[in-house]
């Protein structure tokens, strides 16, 4: 295959990939009148923010889902990182009875899919009176993830034992060794995990859909789905909502794209 033909295929792939994004962003900035009267490919003329104004204004109140989602992601992110780092250090650098068996248990839970746990989690949250609360959104995820523990352990193991021994001789305890030596030396993988956590929880849909009702604790994905089913024909408004739902992650992606792209294939994250 010649270079020219290769480029042709690669460009076609890029257009197919980006097309739906460009079309939906253009629609989000069109007036409903232009949308109804002109072909979809026409750029917005004039560019209008009327859909976003409607979206964030009184009736649809899209500010709240963004705030709820951001809070949820923040709590899950901090909890998962701190608690996973702690567990990974124990598995990588401490010797205790039952360590390998326990680690095997952590690995085994990787097999448990979310769709299997949502029904019992729903039952548990109902029994605890936590249905439709902020805690129901974050509790199942904030105590660390077996996957993060697994990845971090691999990296912590590569921190030389001599270095840790040297820190001990200098009087550092394990807590300090963990946060001042081992964790900073694994900055790269911790950053990757942070991005993974933000992406997967910003995008999470099934659990928030099930455990929340009404507007109070609605997250961005659920709000977008509801808006779409209520205002099916109002596509300019709906595309404004999908734009808002995707924009934060696209900005993060634009900033960290090289790190993200390089780390995906290393970690196999999903």
């Amino acid at each position: 295959m010649s270079g020219g033909l290769t480029y042709l295929v690669l460009i076609a792939g890029a257009l197919l990939t980006l097309g739906p994004f460009v079309l939906s962003f253009m629609t989000a900035f069109k007036s409903p009148q232009q949308f109804a009267s002109e072909p979809a490919l026409n750029p917005p003329n004039p560019v209008t923010t009327v859909n976003f104004a409607k979206l964030f204004g009184g009736a649809y109140g899209f500010i709240s889902p963004i705030a709820v989602t951001a809070q949820m992601v923040a709590v899950v992110l901090v909890g998962q990182l701190v608690f996973s780092i702690m567990a990974a250090y124990a598995f990588a650098k401490l010797t205790f009875r039952g360590r390998d068996g326990l680690f095997w248990l952590y690995l085994a839970t990787l097999m448990i899919p979310q769709v299997v746990t949502v029904i019992p989690l729903y039952a548990m949250m109902s029994a605890a009176g936590l249905r439709n609360t902020f805690w129901a959104l974050v509790l199942p995820f904030m105590f660390g993830s077996p996957y993060a523990v697994f990845l971090l352990r691999e990296h912590f193991r590569s921190v030389p034992d001599d270095l840790i021994a040297a820190a001990r001789i200098d009087g550092a305890g394990d807590w300090r060794i963990l946060w001042q030596i081992v964790a900073p030396m694994s900055r790269g993988i911790i950053a990757t995990l942070a991005i993974i956590t933000v992406v997967s929880h910003w995008n999470n849909f099934m659990w928030p859909l099930i455990i929340t009702t009404g507007r109070d604790w609605q997250v961005i994905t659920v709000a977008t789905a509801n808006l779409q089913s209520q205002y099916n024909a109002n596509w300019t408004l709906v595309m404004a909502a999908t734009t808002v739902a995707m924009a934060p992650l696209l900005v993060i992606f634009a900033v960290f794209q090289r790190n993200i792209v390089n780390s995906i294939s290393l970690t196999g994250f999903k």
């Binding site: 792939g13 299997v116 019992p120 001990r168 992650l249 696209l250």
Partner: protein, 324 residues
């Protein structure tokens, strides 16, 4: 450097130091005394406590509860009632669930081969290292970073019959999402579109790990590009291919978000009523039959466990080619 290589050095340092300073101040990084071992055990317990709590309460306990729920009748309103294996008999003989199994297999079987082949194809093109390849690589991953739900909603508009972008461009009014023949291909197509770039990345990493000497040796022996790909590169990609296929199949079996957005309530004539969507509808939308939904969830779980175990059997038989 392995831990065993480090050990003699560390112990040497500790011993020489401990002769000068006091013994208690120089704990080496591996157990020597009973006190040290106890301290390590206590510390480990403290460090593991939060994640172990989360794991037990939100992953292991739910498995026990879902098994219990599958043996009960529960509609969220009346108190739970023990019904033995009734839900299981019901689910395993039920046409609705049979249809869901069939639709899921159809979905997996349409998505995985195309997604894998396209991902491999793009990876091979990108691995030629032409200028700009980095940019294409980044572009292809973009859909994968976005919420499947949001992408589903975007595509719902694109595929809409009258004011949708696709029909608008082609001057047609095809009912992509409400016709029983087209709904499944449409849903599978959107899934493939959003996953290809992600698959490409893995193949790209796998291709770049193939030593250049191996390819050069084959070329010296007169192999053309086609032969190099089929006889050298593809076999060496075994482990990558395997990882991509297994993780792809496992996630396709659980697909929900984009299908929910594109074709709610199981799609036209239940043609996109995949297992995850059936479980959701059965438990929380109209069905309110959590016992039956629990039995379905456990069937799905069993399928995924079997796939994972088969993967390990396969790995044990070594699909990798040792290059060392």
């Amino acid at each position: 450097m392995g831990p065993d290589a480090a050990r003699p050095v560390v112990s040497g340092v500790c011993r020489s130091r401990s002769s000068r300073t006091r013994l208690a101040k120089v704990p080496p990084s591996y157990p020597v005394t009973a006190t040290w071992r106890r301290r390590q055990g206590r510390l480990a317990a403290l460090l593991l406590a939060p994640s172990l709590f989360g794991l037990t309460a939100f992953l292991l306990l739910p498995i026990l509860i879902v098994i219990w729920l599958s043996l009960n009748h529960w509609d969220l309103l009346a108190p739970m009632r023990f019904v033995g294996l009734a839900n299981w008999v019901d689910v395993l003989t039920d046409e609705t669930f049979g249809n869901s199994m069939f639709r899921t297999v159809l979905f997996v079987a349409s998505v995985i081969p195309l997604q894998t082949a396209l991902g491999l194809f793009l990876a091979v093109l990108l691995s030629r290292g032409l200028p700009g390849s980095g940019l294409f690589r980044v572009i292809y991953v973009i859909p994968w970073i976005c919420a499947p739900l949001a992408l589903g909603v975007v595509w719902k508009w694109i595929l809409a019959p009258y004011d949708g972008a696709l029909n608008n461009l082609m001057g047609t009014s095809t009912e992509w999402l409400s016709s029983p023949e087209l709904a499944m291909p449409a849903v599978a197509g959107v899934t493939i579109w959003s996953q290809v770039g992600y698959t490409t990345l893995f193949f790209l990493a796998g291709l770049s790990a193939i030593p250049a000497q191996v390819v050069e040796a084959a070329q010296l022996d007169g192999a053309d590009a086609w032969q190099v790909f089929w006889r050298i590169k593809l076999p060496l990609l075994g482990p990558t291919m395997f990882f991509v296929l297994v993780t792809g199949v496992i996630s396709a079996f659980q697909a929900f978000d984009q299908i929910y957005a594109l074709t709610p309530n199981g799609g036209p004539q239940s043609t996109t009523d995949v297992i995850a969507s059936r479980i959701y509808l059965e438990a929380f939308q109209g069905g309110f039959n959590l016992g039956r939904a629990s039995a379905m969830a456990l069937v799905l779980f069993a399928i995924l466990v079997v796939i994972t175990l088969l993967q390990q059997r396969f790995f044990a038989r070594r699909v990798t080619y040792d290059l060392s």
